[in-house]
């Protein structure tokens, strides 16, 4: 009995020693991948930053209004943001590789998953960036056009439009990432539909007189605002 216990203990120790001997090189390799990945990610970040500076990316961001948007959102400059994204993608790639090297059961296949996710993530980022740009442009254009036309609540109108565009963009980005697609789409459709229906009912049935009065006021205000330019020239 005692012999059997001793044999089991020896066997366990041998298994542990074998596993440990097998694990240590993998741990060392993972550490090297982790540390090396960090250095490579930093180098990638620097290179991207230099490349973007050479391509005058910041100027492009200024022209498109992206810089202004980032400033308002208290985020770093466009160049720095892109460089940071590159850094994290590269480093996370190495971290995933390092974890995969350790061959832990639950993390098996992580690398494949990651490399399948990266393109979707990049597309989602692009969709978000484009959506923010379009939203920003529409906000500015609508605000100016509404103010020039003398429409009431110009800020509300333009702000709502921007919010709508950004909301659509976020939903599209989440769909691209495959995150809770059904829930997000359903929630968006219900909210948007309810909002529009509510507005239509409120304006069409409950507020006919208010709508007429609003339009009359607008036409009157518009006429008053159409000052003749001739005396100014």
């Amino acid at each position: 009995m005692i012999q059997e216990i001793a044999d089991e203990l020896v066997q366990s120790w041998r298994n542990f020693a074998t596993a440990f001997v097998l694990f240590v090189p993998r741990l060392v390799a993972a550490t090297i991948i982790f540390a090396g990945g960090f250095v490579i990610a930093i180098l990638a970040r620097r290179s991207v930053k230099r490349l973007l500076a050479g391509l005058r990316f910041e100027r492009l961001a200024l022209r498109t209004g992206a810089s202004e948007m980032l400033r308002v959102a208290d985020m770093p400059s466009a160049e720095l943001l892109v460089a940071k994204i590159v850094f994290w993608i590269v480093w996370i790639g190495f971290i995933v590789s390092a974890v995969d090297t350790l061959q832990f059961g639950p993390f098996q296949g992580l690398v494949e998953e990651f490399f399948r996710f990266v393109p979707r993530f990049l597309v989602a980022l692009l969709v978000l960036a484009f959506g923010f740009l379009v939203g920003n442009f529409l906000w500015r254009a609508t605000l100016l056009a509404s103010v020039n036309a003398g429409l009431p609540a110009a800020r509300l109108l333009s702000g709502t439009l921007r919010l709508l565009v950004i909301a659509i963009t976020v939903v599209m980005a989440l769909e691209q990432l495959g995150l809770a697609t059904t829930v997000v789409l359903t929630a968006f459709a219900i909210t948007f539909g309810a909002l529009m229906l509510g507005l239509a009912i409120a304006f069409g049935l409950g507020g006919q007189d208010a709508a007429r009065s609003l339009l009359e006021q607008h036409v009157k205000a518009k006429k008053q605002r159409e000052t003749d330019a001739a005396p100014h020239l």
């Binding site: 100027r59 200024l62 022209r63 209004g65 810089s67 202004e68 500015r140 254009a141 605000l143 100016l144 056009a145 509404s146 103010v147 020039n148 110009a154 800020r155 008053q224 605002r225 159409e226 000052t227 003749d228 330019a229 001739a230 005396p231 100014h232 020239l233």
Partner: protein
């Protein structure tokens, strides 16, 4: 701004007419659109000028009509008693031209001018004169006085100068005149005038430039021609002319301010290598005699203008934050919150320069910037009107001079921000 297709390809019939005319010394261009009320007197004055005042010169009048529906081309034909002295053509107006009225009141003017400039080059004209179909050239002497200084090689570009009340034309006196004076260093009075005379050489040079193919040229051509003449170091002169207004086409103030801002932006971009290094203020020789009588002061509803401006500036405050520096924006908002209408010269100049720098930076589209500028101009104009309502013409003129001085004094602000952006 999108490029536009060249519209001034000369028709075969027009070319044949020009070939029949041959070389000329003086070409008078008359762009028209529904000018039946005044054009007959103008055409007769041009022909009398040709026959009476320029008998030894080879002359021709080119009329480019934008599709008048009031019989203007027929009137011009009937008023032209020497057929070889007159060539008629037409320039088509696109839908866009008809929808948006340009501040100068002549849709299709760019195309008309291009046709006339091309005709001047083909006929090797020594002098090109553009006459306003609304007058004041209803007297032959008014046409001759435009030709004489250029044909005598005393000047290469002659531009009108109007006797106005100092309170009149605030868009010119508060913005265009002081800005052109300060930046280009030339004491030009009316950078937006409709008429001018120039040498054939300058007309040929202008034809080679890209302005004709660009949408912005529709509204910017008058200012561009003058600033281009300055930037090319041409000898420039001014001539006293009676002021005219175009009663047919009414542009709203908002449209006019936007168009003028876009024109200014175009000129500043085109000539930055010139004005960044221009210094001082060069006086220009003026032909003719200044009318002694100062016109009556204009009557303004500056309270309504100020209220519109106040409302609009508050609405677009988030947009202005991207153009104006925070202290300047805060000062503007402070002024707006006071019941008294006020915007001092220095703050006004800083606002104008901030918009010019923003247009150069390109972070916001030029059209949007121009639209954002409208309420600020309205506030400044109403503040100036309110402040000077009870002042006499001499005091008011002093204030206009002070505005010009402020633009000159603060020019380094624009130069430094422009250079940094570049």
């Amino acid at each position: 701004m999108t490029p536009v297709q060249p519209e001034s390809t000369l028709s075969d019939a027009f070319l044949r007419q020009l070939m029949a005319v041959g070389q000329v010394d003086v070409l008078v261009g008359l762009p028209t659109l529904d000018n039946a009320a005044t054009v007959i007197d103008v055409v007769r004055a041009i022909h009398l000028c040709f026959t009476r005042d320029c008998p030894r010169l080879r002359t021709v009048m080119i009329n480019s009509d934008g599709g008048s529906t009031d019989g203007t081309p027929e009137l011009i034909r009937s008023a032209s008693f020497v057929e070889t002295d007159m060539v008629q053509t037409s320039h088509s107006l696109r839908t866009l031209h008809r929808v948006v009225a340009p501040y100068h009141g002549l849709p299709g003017k760019l195309t008309a001018l291009r046709t006339i400039f091309a005709a001047a080059e083909l006929t090797q004209a020594k002098v090109l004169v553009i006459v306003d179909p609304n007058g004041p050239a209803t007297d032959p002497a008014r046409v001759t006085e435009l030709i004489t200084p250029v044909i005598g090689a005393e000047v290469e570009f002659l531009t009108p100068r109007y006797r106005r009340h100092p309170g009149d034309g605030p868009l010119v006196t508060q913005l265009v005149r002081p800005l052109v004076r300060a930046l280009y260093g030339v004491a030009l009075d009316e950078p937006l005038g409709a008429e001018f005379a120039c040498s054939g050489r300058f007309a040929s040079y202008c034809l080679e430039q890209s302005i004709w193919n660009r949408e912005i040229g529709r509204v910017a051509i008058d200012l561009w021609l003058r600033t281009e003449a300055i930037a090319q170091n041409l000898s420039i002169g001014q001539i006293w002319r009676p002021a005219t207004t175009n009663p047919a086409i009414r542009t709203t103030l908002r449209e006019a301010v936007q168009q003028v801002m876009l024109s200014m932006g175009e000129s500043l971009r085109a000539h930055d290598s010139f004005w960044l290094s221009a210094d001082g203020l060069k006086d220009l020789r003026t032909w003719g005699h200044a009318p002694q009588v100062i016109p009556d002061p204009p009557v303004w509803d500056y309270v309504a203008l100020a209220e519109q401006a106040r409302h609009d500036v508050v609405e677009i405050e988030p947009l202005l934050a991207g153009v104006l520096e925070q202290p300047a924006l805060e000062r503007v908002l402070d002024e707006l919150s006071n019941r008294a209408f006020h915007l001092d010269d220095e703050l006004w100049v800083r606002i104008v320069y901030a918009f010019a720098a923003a247009a150069h930076r390109g972070s916001t589209g030029s059209e949007h910037l121009a639209a954002m500028f409208v309420p600020l101009y309205m506030w400044r104009a109403s503040a100036f009107m309110a402040h000077t309502a009870s002042e006499n013409a001499a005091t008011l003129q002093g204030r206009l001079d002070a505005v010009c001085e402020a633009f000159q004094r603060l020019k380094p602000v624009l130069v430094s921000s422009w250079s940094v952006e570049k």
